[in-house]
Structure formats: C-alpha cells, structure tokens
Symmetry: none
DNA sequence: GTGGTCTAGACCACA
DNA sequence: GTGGTCTAGACCACA
C-alpha cells in the first residue's frame, strides 16, 4: 500500500532512491501535473525513515523542476512542457548508454556484440511479461 | 604517462576508481597473467595519493581473484581461466543492460527505441575514433 | 565488561581478532538477527584502538554477509538462513579437522590415536567447566 | 623431483611453510638422524626463492633442535631422543585439538558432535587411500 | 550520531 | 624493496 519502496541496506542513499523513483514516476506520467504528493511526514512514517531524508529528496526534485512547493499546502507535481520531459528522459538514457559503451570498449567488446546483448535481453523481458 | 588516472574530485572514492580501472585492464588483457603491477609506493607517488589508498584497491583486487600477492615481491596479475573472465565480462555488461532496460521501461520507452538509441550512439563512437 | 576482547601482543592483527570473534558470536546466536552492534566509535574507545581498525573488521563482516550496514544508523546483524549458517559452522570445523588429520598422518599417527586424543581433551574441557 | 614444495601465493610465509614441512618430515622419520639436508643454495634454486628465506627456515629448525649445523658441511638432522620427539608430536596435535574444541564450543557444538565429525572424516580419508 | 575516506607517518614481517 | 597494520586526526555524506 506504500507509494514508494526503498531498500535501506542497498548502499544507495535513501534520499537518492526516493529521488530517482519519483523522478521516473513523474516522467512516466504516473503522477499528473498538479497532483499532490504524500506529505513528508506521511512518507517518513510509512517507510520508517527520518523526515529529513524525505525532505531532502523532495528538495532535490523541486530544484530540478519536477515538483513545486505550495507554501503550507505541500508538494505538487510541476507543470512541465511535454517536450522538455521527453528530452530529459533521453538525456538520462543516453548517459547510461554511453557508460555502457565505454565499459564495453574498455573490455574489448565491440558495438555489434553489445547491440546483440541488448536485443537479447529486451526479448527476454518481453517474454517474461507475457 | 602514468599507468593509472584518477579524478580526485569526482566523488567516487579513489580506491574504487583504481579498482575498476585495473579490473577492466585485466579483463581486457592489457595486463597479461603473471605480469607485475607497479608497486603500491610507485602508484602512490605517481598519483600523489596515500599508499594506503592504493593498497586498499590492490587488496580488493586480490580478494576478487584478479591479482595475486607474492610475499615481498609485490602484486602480480593472477592466472585466470579465459572462459571465466569472458563470463565475468558478460555478467558485468548484462547487469548494466538490465538496469538500462528497467529504467527505460519505467519511463515508458520500449525496447525498439532503446535498441535504436544504442545503435546510434555506437555509431557516433565509431566515427569519433576515425 | 567489554563486549569484545583483543590481545594486542598476540601477533594476530586486531581487525582479524575482532572479525573472527564477532563471526563466532553471530554463528553462535549470541547476537540475534537485526540486533545492533556497538558503534565503531564505542568499540574503538573501549578497546583503546583506532576507529579505522574496528571499521575494517566491520567492513569484512559486512562483505561476508554477517552484518548489514544501515546508512547513518550503524551496523546490524544480518538476516541469515539458519540452515546456511549451520552449514558454515560445519564447513569451518571440517576444514580444521582435515588439517588435523593431515598433520597427524604426516607424523605417522593413525586415526584411532587421534580420536582417542580428541575424546580425552573433550573430557578434560568438560571437567574444567564443572 | 623437488624435495620440498611451497605455494608462494598462499599467504603463509614461505619460511614457515618450509619450517613445518621439514619439521614433520623429521618427526615422521622421513629424514633419519645424521642425514644431510639439501644446501640452502640448492633449495633456493629449486624453489626459485630467496636463499635468505631458506636460511631462515633452517635457522629456526636448528633453534628448535631438529637440525644441527655442521660448520662448513651444511645442516644435518639432529640426534634426538625418540621419546622426546614423540612428546613433541603430541604437543603439536594437542594444541590443534584444543583450538578445535574451543572453536566448536564457541559455536555451540558439543563434544559428541565433534568426535562424530572427526571419526567420519578419518574414515573418509581411509577409504580414499584404498 | 553513524560509518566512509583519506592523509602523513610510523613500524613490522617477508624476501 | 615489497606489502600489511596501526595511529591520530581531519573531513564528508547520511539520517
């Protein structure tokens, strides 16, 4: 029933886990523009986490333009230009792909092989969803 | 002219930077099995870094089976089964690819688009090397 | 009254002494799963030892799956499958027994004699506890 | 064809490996009293090891009374009272057994179980020799 | 308050 | 000369 999930022992800072989770939810359209997010206190209680941790994640999301703080009324999903958010998605993915290709290159594995691996994994995913 | 390079301001701990750099060099065959690595002190001097930091990286590499410590004679690249290290390379890459696909999926971007993006980036890399 | 004891002059590195002591305490059930361990600084103060030394021991214990690091909240005994840890106990003991038998064999002492010696010593221990 | 074998990457100091290997060979009667050991130089060449390392092992063995240095003629197995060397064997084994029992106790495994484990392993060894 | 990282420098075992 | 261990003390991210 919780909105968000974290794994406290994963090594990734909790605020970052929250940040990227909500970031994706917004980019994905899971939260509509203008929609209210659960309050810092609610999330903190649900996840058994320090309120400051939640607050830090919300603060970052505000800074990046994903959320808008309505004074006294909590956080709300920001109005965003659809084109911009598409752009952001691709920026995120491109960064990951570049890292992937760099690593592959340093291990002496060429582009063909990487594309084959990606295709293969993508199909595996597809099947597992059927 | 240094064997290794670090970026002290990247936020990634220096010993981890060294670890993954050397890990890739070994997997890549840049260092042959049995070959001596530069001594802790040499690396420390070159990079203007504390010997313990280098030592920590070397220690991790030994634990993972990449290096072998010869008492009093320094560190040497471990004998490794070629098949095993191929396997490791693919394990590393597959892990990265799975993350990529998960992220993409959560952002509502399908496999086709991802493969297109990867192909595109791979070609960009290729060109920039020519 | 200290939780842990070390002998600084034994030649065995302090971090290793701590590691195997805590390892046994966890395997033994002295610390329950989820229980908090004393903080690095507490232990360091008690034993009059550098915090980094304690930290090194804790780090090893985390790596081996005995402890879990809760960010900003200290170390906690990991959830472990009881069957697995039983297995680990026996692995440790079997390794010691095999060494014992190899040594005995190399000295021309047969299995009967070894079993007799073990039985004898076990009874001595028992008596000294009464 | 080598008299002795070492494993340079095992973590155990080479001089200690040599020491205990020769100790057992003497206790076991593999080397008779008065018999010559190979020279420091020979062993060092065979094992591709620093002569000082061999020398250190021989020195320790002399100190413990296993070898006698004949000036200008090399090392020779010492004349030893049979009773004494029996005693030494048992001292070594008893020490190992005590460690075993201590460990077992700290892991909550009782004497019966340990004796069972030893018996079981001893029989396994016997079978594998047939 | 918690652990993580790093430095500067000392001392040690091993070869 | 090689790596291993430890200290004292600093600074940092995280909660």
């Amino acid at each position: 029933m919780d909105q968000f999930t974290i794994s406290p022992s994963s090594g990734v800072p909790i605020y970052k886990q929250l940040f990227s989770q909500i970031e994706r939810m917004v980019l994905n359209g899971y939260f509509a523009a203008g929609e209210h997010l659960p309050s810092v206190r609610q999330v903190a209680t649900n996840l058994e986490v320090n309120p400051m941790t939640v607050s830090k994640a919300y603060g970052l999301l505000e800074e990046r333009g994903y959320l808008t703080r309505l004074r006294g009324k909590g956080m709300v999903v920001a109005q965003r230009d659809e084109a911009v958010s598409q752009q952001e998605k691709f920026k995120m993915l491109t960064k990951m792909i570049e890292e992937l290709l760099t690593q592959a290159q340093q291990m002496g594995i060429n582009e063909q092989e990487i594309i084959a691996l990606v295709t293969e994994n993508a199909q595996k995913d597809k099947k597992s969803k059927e």
